[in-house]
């Protein structure tokens, strides 16, 4: 099933290797482990393609030493070992990579899919850059690179990638929405609203785009407009997307509506402690009795469960909140809505929920 279209692709790959006789891997000597680790990964992948598999393994070894959670490097090393006939040695790397990716907490299910991507995505960026050697009239590699950069917290670079994609596919509603997400992440909320609005003009009921614009409106202080978009998003979300529906209703502070959605979500994902936590929150906001819940293990969000059970003080909970996000979660559970509304990032569920609680 060789496809004629891929003939060109194959030739482009040959051209790239020929051009790249002495390729440069910026950051290979960088003292920063992240930069050096990713550069080693890229060189390892290059060596894999060039047939220098043993040398590639060395690069991946070093990258993993520097960045033990580097799942992409583990999979690449596993593939090399597998190729060398060392399938048993490869197995732990395959397993560990999957464990690392699965352990990452992803973005809320009501937001754009780009916030739910896991890993460094360096393999993907490298692959799409390779594809761009041939694909001159396709927007896909640009937007895919943009998405990876967004996942890395590099919205300014992502914006450039999306704009390159938009040059190829002018006014494309999906690309406009991605641009809106990049602008929003950069704090350029007015421009973000414009980009989302342009996208929604073409596809008015796109749930994730409505969510993006709602977040940007909320950040601009227009919680009324944000709520309108969230309501529209809720009506556009199918029943089976209970998790997304739960998130939207929580942003709206609509706890009566949130409760059944949360219960359906828990049925599907009983091991995710956040859904249990949000259910406790909903019950509390509705003044309903709360039955005891098994607190999860680990350092977070266990303290929040302890708080609900009356086994932790506000001080201990805040002390355990070691990141900005956790602190916002803690403040929300402590019902310090004003603090949350003033300091939380607008994309957090707690931010919108706090704003709506304050507006009551």
């Amino acid at each position: 099933m060789a496809k004629q279209g891929f003939l060109k692709s194959a030739l482009a790959g040959v051209g790239l290797l020929r051009k790249a006789n002495a390729p440069d891997f910026p950051g290979i000597d960088d003292p920063d482990p992240e930069n050096q680790g990713t550069a080693l990964f890229r060189r390892g992948r290059y060596r894999m393609r060039a047939g220098e598999v043993e040398n590639a393994v060395k690069d991946f070894d070093r990258a993993i030493e520097l960045l033990p959670d580097y799942a992409e490097a583990r999979v690449s090393r596993a593939e090399c070992l597998d190729m060398l006939g060392r399938a048993e040695a490869a197995q732990p790397d395959y397993v560990e990579a999957r464990r690392l990716w699965a352990a990452e907490r992803t973005g809320a299910p009501d937001r754009s899919y780009i916030w739910r991507q896991q890993g460094r995505l360096t393999f993907e960026v490298e692959s799409y850059e390779l594809a761009l050697e041939r694909i001159k009239t396709g927007s896909f590699p640009h937007s895919a690179v943009g998405n990876a950069l967004m996942a890395h917290g590099r919205p300014a670079e992502a914006l450039k990638a999306y704009e390159r994609a938009l040059k190829i596919k002018d006014k494309d509603p999906a690309l406009l929405a991605l641009k809106g997400e990049a602008l929003s992440a950069m704090g350029r909320y007015r421009s973000a609203v414009d980009a989302f609005s342009a996208s929604l003009k073409a596809v008015p009921r796109a749930p994730e785009v409505l969510s993006g614009r709602a977040v940007a409106y909320a950040a601009l202080g227009r919680i009324d407009k944000a709520n309108v978009d969230w309501r529209r998003q809720l009506s556009a979300l199918p029943e089976h997307q209970a998790a997304a529906r739960a998130c939207v209703t929580m942003r709206l502070g609509a706890w009566t509506e949130a409760l059944p959605e949360l219960e359906r979500t828990i049925e599907k994902a009983p091991n995710d402690p956040y859904w249990q936590l949000y259910r406790l929150t909903a019950l509390k906001r509705l003044d309903r009795p709360v039955e005891p819940v098994d607190a999860p293990s680990g350092d977070w969000p266990a303290p929040l469960f302890a708080l609900h059970a009356g086994k932790a003080t506000p001080e201990t909970v805040l002390a355990a909140a070691t990141t900005e996000g956790r602190r916002m979660e803690a403040l929300f559970q402590l019902e310090r809505f004003k603090d949350v509304a003033e300091t939380a990032p607008p994309h957090m569920i707690e931010y919108a929920a706090a704003r709506n609680e304050l507006g009551r």
């Binding site: 099933m1 197995q91 890993g119 390779l130 396709g138 896909f140 999906a174």
Partner: protein, 526 residues
Amino acid sequence: MFSVIIYGRNDQHGYNLHKRAAISFNALAEVMSDPDDEILFVDYNTPDDHPTFPEAIADTLTDKAKQHMRILRVRPEQHVHLKSKTHLVALESQSRNVALRRSNPKNRWILYTNTDMLLVPRTEGESLSDILGALPDGFYQIPRFEIPEMLWEAAFDRKDAAGNLAKLRDWSVRFHLNQVVHNFMPMKYDALGDFQAVLREDMFAVHGFDESMILGWHCDSNLAARLALYRGRVDTLMDKAFGYHCDHTRVAAANNKGRKTTMNSHDKYIWNVSSPYIPEQAETWGWPDVKIEEVRLDRDTSYERYVAGLSQAIEPATVPFTNTSVEWHLFDDLTYDLRHTLPFVCDQVLTYPKSTSILVAGCRADFIQRFATAWRGMGFTGPVLVPQEVGLGVDDPAIKGGRFGDLLKRADLFMFEFGLTTQKIDDPVRVGREESLADRRQLKAVERLFRRAASTEAETRPKGRQTPRRCIGVNVIYNRYWPVFTDYISANINPFCAQVLAGIPLAEPVTMKEKVILKFKKKKAS
């Protein structure tokens, strides 16, 4: 744990399809270990008078394959709205989406593959259900390895799935079969459509396959591009399983015309994909409101239905054989052996939907009576429509009477029987019997209804129906109703012994005038 989704139709798609598919179905079932696992085969646009493809090869499938397989039959009438837009007779996106919509909601994974693939877990004894059950959420592909045609054709035993997988383990080493063909992202490997494991939930979220892709090819790459956006990554499952493809290039498949192959746009559907979603089909993908028939191979099979119907309608023979004759002087004798003919008649209807309404106009009351009994026994729920103009006074729970003009508009299928109304079940057959006045009157009435039905078929179709309705003729071979029937119906030449012809009405009936002109032309030419 997982639903395998594959599609095809009862035709000849590439070299030795029957063997390839049997090997593949059996091998897929072999690596299933969860009772919820299923092989969803969408039988797309097989002609109504044919069985589905898996039914046609059921004898070559293992019990395990039959137990896990659910056949979803998409009828030609359900495809007809797309017919003018594509040169293809089976559509991948529509098929796969019809199956996805109807897949077992208990299953976490959907596995997209094709009917010529064998999946071999790298750890012997491990099932694909075990492998997928232990996997975190994601989008997984594996590379495809080729099996030379000679190997699978000559050395595989269709029903020995475990033995075939063991052979592959051996051949992969002996014949260096395992070559990974890498590809540009998002198509991690070449021929990626032969193994894409996706969360069922993800497939629903992205609205399934793109149903605007109706020209063939790249549906798999489009899905990969969209899921690569959605998930961010395409993961490999190469450490757990290898996929082997039964190479079939001796004969090009219908959708492969070399460099002249018509395809979906590569640029539009891969390199310019900008969203995982397809909002324009969000509500309609997989035809949620269309009733799709489900066929099983492990219960309520066509054969079981056939036996059940006939055993209610006819009793077993009491003599070793009976006689009839095609001798010339018997051309006008319209007697026939009903008990012998009925099995061939039932054979004509069994592949139709159970809800079919069949209009039956005949000369012999015992024919209509026994056919109605068999019809019910075969599990049909639609009525047997008998026009009051036939006037035989037959009573049966399946029979609904009415004016011929009204029944024409309700029928999905026609049957006209040309026998002698005076013939009794044990009367001798083809011994030179003369027609009585009553016979002649009845034959005339049925012939008139037949001509009307056949010549107005297009105008009298039930509302919304676009495909022509099939017409079955009983006792229309080698007697004077042979030319009458074939003047109107495009029927094949069938053996006399079967007594039955069938086909769809000709756009223009062959008239006597045309026949004369043709004869004249031929004479002139010679």
